[in-house]
């Protein structure tokens, strides 16, 4: 009896083992929920479709945002430019993301950025303020007394002022736009975090790689969604020339900022060696995943 029982169990077991992948492959959503990819690359769609697909592939925003969370959505609102000039994050994308956060149960969604041009002009002309407010976000101007010195104790930076709302948020979704950057080569997720840094940011510009990696290590976001619907290919980060804007209709999302940035380099035809600060970030262990063996889900929308 014992042996028979064993054989029976073994048979069922082996059948199970052989059939399981088939079952799983039949229900991809089930599989995805158990093993979401480390990063998602979605292309050939409108901003909203790109976002929805990416979030679906990542197992839904519920994987990142819990009920009652205070969420900071941090787009790039740095410049007094209209959306078509690809200097700021796509407003539709930001609006939709805010909506999704509330759907996932967020209590409050805050949107802000420390801008380079006059902040009211940037908030307004980027159309982000309008879109985010419409979706119910709290859009606020940076308040000068809300920067708190954060101990960094990095290689070159000892401490740096960071925006309080950002530090106090339960979850942070970093939504940069992919742009050329004359000093840094490209600006993506890691560099977008400069929008929550106080102090004299210009002084970060020399020995930039080490400085940005030092600070970013302490303030990495929950999720990074790179808006590459339109990308700026030259004269960044300000741009201003429509000829430098390329319609790439892409979106990259990952819970690892370095991985997302690394993937986005392909849009510009760069390798990791071309962009010092991302390479340093990887070398210094800021990446959650092994960049050489990233599990990337690529979706080409029809």
């Amino acid at each position: 009896m014992k042996r028979r029982k064993f054989l029976k169990a073994a048979a069922i077991g082996s059948a199970g083992v052989t059939l399981l992948p088939r079952i799983i492959s039949k229900y991809p959503s089930l599989y995805a929920q158990n093993n979401p990819p480390q990063a998602v690359w979605v292309e050939n769609g409108e901003p909203l479709d790109l976002l929805n697909t990416a979030l679906e592939e990542l197992g839904g925003l519920e994987n990142f945002v819990s009920k009652g969370d205070v969420v900071v959505v941090k787009p790039n609102i740095g410049w007094d430019r209209r959306p078509e000039l690809a200097a700021n994050t796509n407003p539709q994308l930001v609006g939709e993301l805010v909506r999704k956060c509330y759907e996932a149960g967020a209590k409050t969604v805050k949107v802000f950025d420390r801008t380079c041009n006059n902040s009211r002009r940037c908030y307004r002309n980027s159309k982000i303020e309008e879109a985010a407010k419409k979706a119910g976000a709290e859009v606020s101007q940076i308040r000068k007394n809300k920067f708190k010195e954060l101990p960094i104790n990095g290689k070159v930076i000892k401490e740096w002022p960071i925006y309080e709302d950002y530090l106090e948020a339960d979850k942070v979704i970093n939504v940069p736009i992919a742009k050329h950057h004359s000093m840094a080569t490209v600006t993506l997720g890691l560099k977008n975090l400069m929008g929550v840094m106080g102090g004299n940011r210009g002084s970060l510009h020399n020995n930039f790689a080490l400085k940005i990696v030092d600070i970013d290590r302490k303030i990495l976001p929950t999720l990074t969604i790179i808006d590459a619907y339109r990308i700026l290919t030259a004269n960044g980060p300000q741009g201003g020339n429509p000829d430098h804007v390329k319609l790439t209709k892409t979106l990259i999302a990952s819970s690892c900022t370095v991985s997302a940035d690394y993937l986005a380099l392909q849009l510009f035809g760069h390798s990791l060696d071309d962009v010092e600060y991302i390479k340093v970030a990887a070398d210094e262990g800021l990446a959650k995943y092994d960049l050489n063996n990233l599990n990337v889900k690529r979706v080409h929308l029809g």
């Binding site: 006059n118 002009r121 101007q141 007394n145 950057h181 004299n200 210009g202 002084s203 020399n206 020339n241």
Partner: protein
């Protein structure tokens, strides 16, 4: 009547303050030109006429006032002028003395006529000195440089301090946010010349302690002009036979416009129609009424031929002195005027130093400041772009849109984006890449031109440890640079910047250039 006058004063004061507050980004949506308040100034059409020999309908609010003045007298001073209202409020606070003690200042009231005549003579020589004394320009200057910043500093800082107390955090921030959203959204600008303009404000308001409406009685050239026009005013104060000559109206008169020896008369050139005289007339008597009369009596202007000759001589001397000038050429290259400013001489001539452009600039890049005595006396309080305090916002052309006298022309945005107001220069001794062989190029990053006016060369540099490094060395392209100064403003060096803008390449506009 007094009640109606007070309501009018308060409404006009609110109206002028409202216009002042509206002068900010986003400006287009309000639908009212905020400079219309400044175009109420009775002096503007006169001096515009002397400058152009054409009567401009642009100044219609002032023309309407001037048209009615010969019939109604100085109602502008009593009912409309926001500076006058401010003085009346001050008078309530500091408790101005009555004319019993203040009467001895009476002999100085000719000064305002002297000033008006002097300003006209100077204007004929192309010198604008009247702007400094224009009551509306003065009011706007007071608001911009003194009261508004004072209010913001007190308001904002109090609320931010309160927010540090934990139980007050939420209400304090709520108030702060509403304050920033609705009342004063711009970042607080810190102005140069605050001391001198502050001193002027203290003088104008402080003299209320000496006599009521000291400014209006003795100094205001607009009052002088309106007084001159009011000599035959048709709307007269009538004193009935019941008058016991208690002189109550005479001592309480805001303008001391009732002659002490004949309370039945009114100095029409001085009276501002506040109607206080009827109010202070003892209730049982009520001898004072006002009537429209077709055969009015004449009140002479308190200004004689000898005074006129002295004024003329003094004005000529001033013309001479101003022409000698300071001629400090070292300073000249930083006189960066707003984009669309007329050529310097005409600019000086037309600018009334009202600070409206400075005010609206604060809600944008925030580079405009009242200038100091740079190259000659008349540079004082012209708008000047100080890029280390702010910069000219690329997508903004608002300063030209709010200039009441078109000293700054209203350029279309696309024109403005192309117009050079100066040229950037590197100070290679301190600019980080040149000084230390390290990357920086924050200036290039911020340069707003679609084809960057700052470009850079990448060069290999041999370092002290024997290794080489690639460094980006920026340079300016003169043909592209518009001198907006964002590079100077954002330069991360503390104190003296590694890149600065001066007036080289600055292009001035003429009205004929506008299509």
């Amino acid at each position: 009547m007094v009640k109606a006058r007070k309501v009018s004063q308060i409404l006009f004061l609110l109206f002028f303050v409202f216009l002042f507050l509206q002068a900010r980004y986003p400006y287009e949506e309000v639908g009212v030109s905020s400079d219309i308040g400044l175009r109420f100034s009775p002096l503007i059409p006169l001096f515009d006429f002397i400058d152009t020999w054409v009567l401009s309908w642009r100044f219609w609010p002032a023309l309407v006032i001037l048209l009615f003045t010969p019939f109604f007298g100085r109602f502008f001073c009593g009912w409309i002028c926001p500076l006058g209202t401010t003085l009346d409020i001050t008078d309530k606070i500091v408790k101005s003395p009555s004319n019993k003690t203040a009467g001895k200042w009476q002999k100085w009231r000719y000064l305002k006529y002297a000033l008006l005549i002097a300003f006209i003579l100077l204007a004929l020589f192309g010198i604008n000195a009247w702007g400094y004394f224009d009551p509306l320009a003065l009011f706007n200057r007071m608001l911009t440089i003194i009261f508004y910043p004072l209010f913001t500093l007190i308001g904002e800082n109090t609320l931010l301090r309160l927010s540090e107390i934990s139980i007050l955090e939420t209400p304090a921030y709520f108030l702060y946010d509403s304050f920033k959203e609705w009342i004063m959204p711009e970042n607080q600008a810190f102005y140069q010349q605050v001391f001198w303009i502050g001193l002027l404000v203290v003088f104008v308001l402080g003299m209320e302690k000496v006599t009521r409406r000291f400014w209006c009685r003795h100094l205001c050239p607009a009052g002088a002009l309106l007084g001159f026009l009011s000599q035959f005013r048709f709307y007269e104060r009538i004193v009935g036979p019941a008058c016991p000559v208690c002189n109550q109206c005479q001592t309480e008169c805001k303008m001391n416009a009732i002659p002490a020896d004949d309370v039945g008369k009114t100095d029409k050139t001085e009276c501002i129609e506040c109607f206080n005289c009827a109010e202070v007339c003892p209730e049982k008597i009520s001898a004072i009424t006002y009537q429209w009369r077709w055969k009015p009596y004449h009140s002479a202007v308190d200004y004689n031929r000898r005074q006129f000759l002295a004024t003329s001589a003094a004005s000529l001397a001033v013309v001479g002195l101003l022409n000698i000038g300071l001629q400090n050429k070292d300073n000249k290259d930083r006189a960066i005027r707003p984009p669309g400013a007329l050529p310097e001489e005409q600019f000086q001539e037309r600018c009334i130093r009202c600070m409206e452009c400075v005010r609206i600039c604060a809600s944008n890049g925030g580079c405009l400041q009242p200038d100091h005595i740079r190259n000659d006396l008349l540079d004082l309080w012209l708008p000047v772009a100080v890029m280390r305090g702010g910069y000219c916002e690329y997508n903004c052309n608002l300063c030209g849109q709010v200039c009441p006298t078109e000293a700054i022309l209203p350029l279309p945005l696309e024109e403005k984006k192309k117009l050079p107001m100066g040229l950037a220069h590197f100070d290679k001794n301190i600019c980080i890449p040149y000084d230390r062989n390290e990357d920086c190029i924050v200036c290039e990053e911020h340069c707003p031109l679609p084809d960057k006016a700052i470009k850079f060369n990448v060069k290999d540099v041999l370092l002290a440890d024997g290794t080489t490094r690639k460094v980006k060395y920026p340079y300016v392209i003169k043909e592209l640079c518009i001198g907006c100064g964002i590079c100077e403003d954002k330069c991360p060096l503390v104190g003296k910047p590694g890149i600065f803008v001066n007036t080289k390449n600055q292009r001035r506009m003429r009205k004929s250039d506008l299509v």
